[in-house]
């Protein structure tokens, strides 16, 4: 619809929208995060929800203790190999539509603890991530920015057609295999459906 006409109509008190916009508008402004902190970043996540940064402005201050009631998982901190199966299980327990924010360097790639034998080198080895936030830890402003990015992403989702998101496809998986503890490492070390090793950028 023509943007100009719509603005004109709304000035007259007539609001015109599409079902898709209404649906996305509702979802993007009531993201309920899973109250779930892993490490240092969790403190910044709490700080974000406190008075100064006030996450409530984005409709996302309702931290739910249960994954069944949440639709956003903020992976806030280092995912260790001992914790990774639980993180995947929590994701599987969340109801669709669900989103993942990887907060901080550790959740993205292992960060400063990348050399660690018990550190998972990024949660995207097991889960699809919607927004990555760099930083160690990211400031609360960065988390707010991630929220806004995620909201834009949700607002742009189509309800029908080839581009429709995962939760509207019957064939797309809503749950991912939970890795098992092996004798030396997690089994499997990554989920090939979600993550493939990147290609070498440079061959010297």
């Amino acid at each position: 619809m023509d943007e100009h006409l719509r603005n004109e109509l709304s000035r007259q008190g007539i609001f015109v929208t599409t079902l898709e916009e209404l649906y996305n508008w509702g979802r993007k402004n009531s993201l309920w995060p899973l109250g779930f902190g892993l490490a240092c970043c969790a403190i910044e996540m709490i700080a974000t929800s406190m008075a100064r940064h006030d996450l409530a402005r984005f409709g996302a201050e309702v931290f739910r203790p249960s994954p069944r009631q949440a639709d956003l998982m903020i992976v806030a901190g280092t995912v260790t190999k001992k914790m990774a199966p639980q993180v995947v299980r929590l994701y599987n327990q969340m109801a669709e539509p669900k989103y993942v924010i990887a907060m901080g360097a550790c959740a993205i790639s292992g960060g400063p603890f990348k050399q660690g034998y018990n550190v998972l080198k990024g949660i995207d080895r097991y889960l699809p991530v919607d927004v990555h936030i760099p930083g160690c830890p990211p400031r609360p402003e960065a988390l707010l920015h991630a929220f806004m990015t995620l909201q834009e992403k949700i607002a742009a989702q189509a309800l029908t057609g080839e581009q429709r998101p995962r939760h509207l496809r019957a064939d797309a998986p809503g749950a991912f295999p939970v890795p098992e503890f092996g004798a030396h490492d997690l089994q499997p070390p990554h989920n090939p459906e979600v993550w493939t090793p990147p290609r070498l950028a440079r061959e010297s």
């Binding site: 034998y117 080198k121 503890f181 030396h184 090793p197 290609r199 070498l200 061959e203």
Partner: protein, 209 residues
């Protein structure tokens, strides 16, 4: 507080058969320590805890250390007659110092506010004889720390009430803080790999197409 030599003399009088060695520390803080033989370690520790002059009632810290087998090369020069000519020959002798695991206990006194007295216990080797007496029956503060050493170094503490893995999962097989531990090969690819990382990347990751 008494010097370590005085403590050693008194302990050896009080615990017959115990053999203590004072280990010198080269750093400026001069925190020297006492090496105790494993058989009498519990008795010695009990004496230190209960002796009215020492009253080391507080176990601050337990550290595990892995000492690998060392090969010390000693060079010696000698003059010998070879083929009728006297020559100076340099000889290298190799001396093998077997490896061992060590547990270091830092003891303080809360009552008398002195310390530290540092105890060291050593295993006989790094493979099979990795057994040490547990001091948890005397200081419960050692409980989690000895479990951690069992988990990460593989020292079995005899007399520990609950010796299980503490940090790694239960079916984990290795002892990752040992110096010869090989970690799983799951390093993250780096955008501009070089040296070792490039070698690793070549082995694991798909080449650019």
């Amino acid at each position: 507080m008494e010097t370590l030599e005085q403590i050693k003399t008194r302990v050896e009088l009080a615990v017959p058969g115990a053999s203590l060695t004072v280990i010198q520390n080269g750093s400026p803080c001069a925190q020297h320590s006492i090496l105790v033989d494993n058989e009498h370690a519990l008795e010695v520790a009990r004496f230190l805890q209960q002796d009215p002059q020492l009253r080391l009632d507080y176990l601050s810290n337990v550290t595990g250390v892995d000492w690998l087998e060392q090969v010390l090369q000693e060079k010696s020069r000698s003059r010998r007659v070879i083929d009728g000519v006297e020559r100076e020959i340099e000889e290298t002798t190799e001396k093998r110092v077997p490896g061992y695991l060590e547990a270091i206990y830092h003891l303080y006194s809360m009552e008398l506010k002195h310390g530290p007295v540092i105890l060291r216990l050593r295993t006989s080797d790094r493979a099979k004889g990795t057994v040490l007496p547990s001091l948890t029956p005397l200081w419960r503060g050692a409980e989690f720390q000895e479990r951690e050493i069992f988990d990460l170094y593989g020292i079995r503490f005899e007399g520990h009430p609950d010796l299980r893995r503490i940090l790694m999962w239960d079916s984990f097989a290795d002892h990752p803080m040992r110096k010869d531990y090989v970690e799983p090969d799951d390093y993250e690819y780096e955008p501009t790999p070089h040296d070792e990382v490039l070698e690793r990347a070549r082995q694991h990751y798909l080449p650019r197409t």
